[in-house]
Subunit: 192 residues, 2 copies
């Protein structure tokens, strides 16, 4: 996206396109505003059940808050000896990928003046649990592969609609970290 | 974890330890049962707001379902021109990591006979949005780093409690894909 060469766009697909493009131009001139930190705070409940809250984050030069605190449960299903109080952690990962690509499709469509009528995607991840169960050291812990299948409908030729998904993939934060990896540091403080 | 050398354990921390260890032994003898597929189905709502459902999955040799369908919203916050109908996709990713490590801590503590009283973690991810906003091709789209900070309390010495988190990290599906990457294939079908 080269914001200065875009034609003027009206709001579309529920995206406030003029505001989005103005924001991009504004941040381009003040790169320190682009430094964000997102956070999840998680607390163990019982068994494999835990609950996260997502509320505060840092960005645009200051502390920010969501409109409200968002809570999410996670658990293992009965077949994996959990109590099934929520999706599994790996399903949350698939949801993160799906929603990241979907936000991108909507923003990019608006910037390109394409009206969307329906967009869906299915995200499947294949995993061999012999890794996390400690049965085989030759099996990785995580997904062996993830497959995303989009269905998209809008007022543009098929090729233009496909390019929306391609550009969303090329600019997706979650796709990037999943395919390229990211350094993760884990620290522990014990309460005595 | 080498299931055949574990001492007999009672249920602990809400984990049905005997069932968990029996499951591991059963799967060790029938590796095809360990092949799982998890799924998220996402539908675009409006703007950057989308909704996923997580219900069916495949594993233990057959199609499975959660106790109920789990729904989750995702959106961008107002400062990023969204309507803030839910956490951002990247916060969902942090929740996935937090909850994966947390499930591991609970299962491993039960297998080691350690009673937990409180476990919390904060997961922070730093991101420079010039990547996804298309302002700079030298800035990656995703998190530059993720930091996990655990606080753990239980009936074991500090060193043993710290080892629980270390073993959870070593056997976490989400930690694996985030730090080592995973192949992701994206397909598109246009609706005409």
């Amino acid at each position: 996206m080269q914001p200065n060469t875009k034609p003027a766009r009206l709001p579309l697909n529920g995206v406030d396109t003029p505001n989005l493009l103005a924001t991009i131009n504004f941040v381009a001139g003040q790169p320190e505003l682009a430094k964000f930190q997102f956070r999840a705070h998680n607390e163990w409940v019982e068994g494999t059940h835990s609950k996260s809250v997502m509320l505060g984050f840092h960005g645009a030069g200051q502390e920010q808050k969501h409109a409200k605190a968002y809570y999410a449960d996670s658990d293992h299903p009965a077949v994996l000896c959990g109590a099934d109080h929520g999706p599994t952690p790996v399903e949350w990962l698939l949801h993160a990928l799906a929603s990241c690509l979907m936000s991108g499709v909507a923003n990019i469509a608006a910037a390109r003046g394409i009206k969307l009528t329906k967009v869906r995607c299915s995200v499947d991840g294949d995993i061999d649990l012999r890794g996390i169960l400690g049965i085989s050291d030759e099996v990785r812990n995580g997904f062996q592969n993830i497959t995303v299948a989009f269905e998209i409908e809008g007022d543009a030729p098929s090729e233009k609609l496909q390019q929306l998904v391609e550009q969303a993939r090329a600019r997706s934060a979650v796709f990037d970290v999943l395919t390229n990896g990211v350094p993760v540091t884990v620290g522990v403080k014990t309460i005595q």
